[in-house]
Symmetry: C2
C-alpha cells in the first residue's frame, strides 16, 4: 500500500537480499521507522514486543525469523530450537503456528546446506499467498460496496464504519476489512470511513487512521461510543470488520466492542460484514462460547502513551515527538481483548472465495 506516494508491503527484504524489513508499528502514526531484523533474536523481539502485530503478519515474520536463524545454524537441532522460540513469542496467535508448520514441512526433509535458500523462498511464497488472499477479499468486497453505492443517489459518499485495525499493517498488503475500502477508493468510489478509536490499545486511532491517511482515503476518528448514534442518524452505510477466529456456527471472535457495533447495525438496518481469509474459519470450534477470551494487561487500560503536546519538554526541532505516558485512572481495571458477535447479526462474510453466509466459510 502507499506511504507518501510509494508502494510498500508491511514485510520484505532489505536491498542486501537477506535482512528482513518491517515497520516498528509501535511508533505509528507519529514516526515511520523501517527496521532491520538480522537475527532470530531480532525476529522474536519484533513479534513479542509488538513491533509487528496482526495474525497474518506475525506468521510471515516468524517464517522469515526461521530463515534468519538458519543462516547461523541450519542443523536439525537449531531448526527445532528456533521454531520453539518463535512459537512461544505470542502464545495465542494461531497463524504463528500455522506458518511455522508450513515452513517445517518444507525444511525438515532438506539437507542443512539447502535449508537457508529454501526458507527464504518459502517465506516469500507465504507472503505472496497472503497478499493474493487479501487482494481477492478486496475484490469481492469491492463488488459489495459497488452494489451498495448503486442504491444511493449519484454522487453520494458511501460511509463505512470499521473497528480496530484489519488493514495492510496486520497482513502483508491490502488487509482484510480494509481491502474492500482500498479497492473501492482506487476504483473511484466516493468513500468516507468512520474509524473507531478502539480502546484500550487505540489501534483504530493510531494504525487504521495512519493507513487511510497514507493512502488518501477520507476518514474521521470517533470514540467507540459514537458509532451507534451515527447509525441512528443514517450516517453509516455499512460496517466492515476483520476477525481473529470464526466458529463452525458462524459466530465471530474479534476485538472487544465489535459485538456492540453489530447490535447497533442490526437495530438500525445497516449491513454488517466480516472480512476474513478462509483460514480464519475454525470448523473444530463449535460456537463463539467455546472461544477463550484473552485477558490482557491492565496497564493498557490504565495508562496511555503519546507524543507530548504540553508542557513543552524542551524537544529538539526535527526530532520525532517526545512521548510521555500518563495515567487514566487510579482504580482497578479489567481488559478483556475480544468479544463474540453471534452469527445472526452478520449480514455476510467476505472471503477470498466470495461473499455470503456460512456456505462461503464451509466451502
Amino acid at each position: 500500500m502507499r506511504i507518501e506516494g510509494a508502494h510498500h508491503r508491511s514485510i520484505g527484504l532489505w536491498e542486501d537480499g537477506w535482512a528482513v524489513k518491517v515497520l516498528d508499528q509501535r511508533l505509528l502514526p507519529w514516526e515511520v521507522r523501517w527496521v532491520r531484523l538480522e537475527t532470530l533474536d531480532h525476529a522474536c523481539a519484533a513479534i513479542a514486543d509488538m513491533w509487528v502485530r496482526g495474525a497474518p503478519l506475525i506468521g510471515i515474520t516468524a517464517a522469515y525469523g526461521l530463515a534468519l536463524a538458519l543462516r547461523e545454524d541450519a542443523s536439525d537441532a537449531a531448526l527445532e530450537a528456533a521454531s520453539a522460540r518463535l512459537s512461544a513469542t505470542r502464545p495465542t496467535a494461531i497463524n504463528l503456528r500455522w506458518a511455522l508448520d508450513r515452513m517445517r514441512a518444507a525444511l525438515d526433509p532438506l539437507a542443512p546446506g539447502l535449508r537457508v535458500a529454501a526458507a527464504y523462498a518459502r517465506a516469500g511464497e507465504l507472503g505472496d499467498e497472503d497478499e493474493a488472499l487479501c487482494a481477492a477479499i478486496g475484490g469481492h468486497g469491492l463488488e459489495v460496496l459497488r452494489t451498495l453505492a448503486a442504491t444511493r443517489p449519484p454522487g453520494s459518499v458511501l460511509n463505512i464504519l470499521t473497528h480496530c485495525n484489519a488493514g495492510w499493517l496486520a497482513t502483508v498488503d491490502w488487509g482484510t476489512a480494509l481491502a474492500p475500502i482500498y479497492r473501492a477508493h482506487d476504483a473511484g468510489l466516493k468513500l468516507h470511513v468512520w474509524v473507531d478509536e478502539t480502546r484500550p490499545r487505540n489501534q483504530g486511532a493510531l494504525l487504521t487512521a495512519f493507513e487511510l491517511a497514507s493512502h488518501g482515503v477520507p476518514h474521521t476518528v470517533i470514540s467507540d461510543n459514537a458509532g451507534g448514534l451515527l447509525m441512528q442518524r443514517g450516517q453509516v452505510d455499512a460496517v466492515i470488520v476483520g476477525t481473529d477466529r470464526v466458529a463452525a456456527n458462524g459466530d465471530v471472535c474479534n476485538k472487544v466492542g465489535t459485538y456492540l457495533k453489530a447490535l447497533a447495525a442490526h437495530d438500525t438496518g445497516v449491513p454488517f460484514y466480516v472480512a476474513l481469509p478462509y483460514s480464519t474459519f475454525d470448523p473444530a470450534c463449535p460456537d463463539g462460547a467455546s472461544i477463550p477470551i484473552e485477558e490482557r494487561s491492565g496497564t493498557e487500560q490504565s495508562t496511555l502513551t503519546g507524543p507530548v503536546l504540553e508542557p513543552d519538554l524542551g524537544l529538539e526541532p526535527g526530532r520525532p515527538p517526545r512521548q510521555a505516558t500518563v495515567r487514566l485512572t487510579g482504580s482497578p481495571v479489567a481488559n478483556p481483548a475480544f468479544d463474540i458477535t453471534p452469527a445472526r447479526l452478520i449480514s455476510a462474510y467476505i472471503t477470498e472465495r466470495g461473499v455470503g453466509g456460512l456456505e462461503v466459510l464451509r466451502g
Copy 2:
C-alpha cells in the same frame, strides 16, 4: 457522600458562612482541592470552565452565584445582569435556567436590602431539594437492587454496570444512577460496579471511579468496548445510567454510548434502568429524534491529559502529580456528546416517585 471517611456535599458554604465551597472537579481523582467562590466572576468561571459539571450541580452553583453577585450590588439592574451572565455560562444546560428562574421568582419582588439573605436561603433550599430528590431515587433504586439480589444465590455479589458519571459529583449529594448503589452498599448488599471509562472525556474512569473508591464501593474500570462481553458472560446483573433529558415517548438522551449498552442488555436479558429526577422528563419533546445532539470540541477526542508516569519529570515528593497532554491521533475527529436510547430498550425508570414505565414519568 464520603471522602476519606468524612461526609461532604459537592457544594456548600465555607465556615465564614458566605463564600461558596466547591470541588475543582477537573483535578479529580488526582487531587481533592476545595475552592472558594467569592464573586460572580468566580461562579461564572466555575461553571464555564467545568470546575463543576452535571446539570443539577450547575443549577445550584448558579443559584449561589446570584447570591454572591447580590452581596456586591443588590439593585434590579445588577440582579438582571448577573442572571444573564450566569445563564450564558453553559448555553445548553436546562437546569441552569430552571434554577435561575426559581431564584428570580423569590428575589425579584423583594426590596434590594432583603435580597442577599433571601438568595442564600433560597439557594440552600434548592440544594436541599436536590439532595432529597436524589435520596428518594436512591431509596426506590435500593428496592430494585434488593429484589434482584433476592433472585441470586445467598452471598452473591450483584454486578452493576454504569456509564459516565451520574453520581454525587453531578448533583448536591447521592447522585441519580449512583444513588441506588450507595444506598444498597450502605444497607449491606454485596455490590461490585463495572465503570465504563466513558470516552472521550473519561468521566467514568475519573469521576465515577473516584466517587466509588472514596465511598468504599468495590469497582473495576473497563473500556467502553468491554460491557457487551461482560453481559454475554453473565457478569452483569443490571445496568443503571442517568439521563440529560427524557422525551414524552420515553426515549432517553444520555452520554454517547449509552444506546450500545442498552442494546447489549436487551440482547442478553440484563435489566436496564434509567435513574432521573422527574424534572428531567420533558413532555414538550415528542421523541428522541427531536433532541438536538451537542457536537463538542474535537480536542477532547484527539488529546488526553493526565498525570505523567514517564518520563520522570523530577516531581517533588508530596506535590500533586504533574500533568501532561498527549496526542491520540493525527487524523480528523468527530465528537458527538450524546445518543438516544429508545424507550423499548428500557426496563424501568427510577425516579423520586417510584419505579416503573412511562407512568412514573407522566405522574
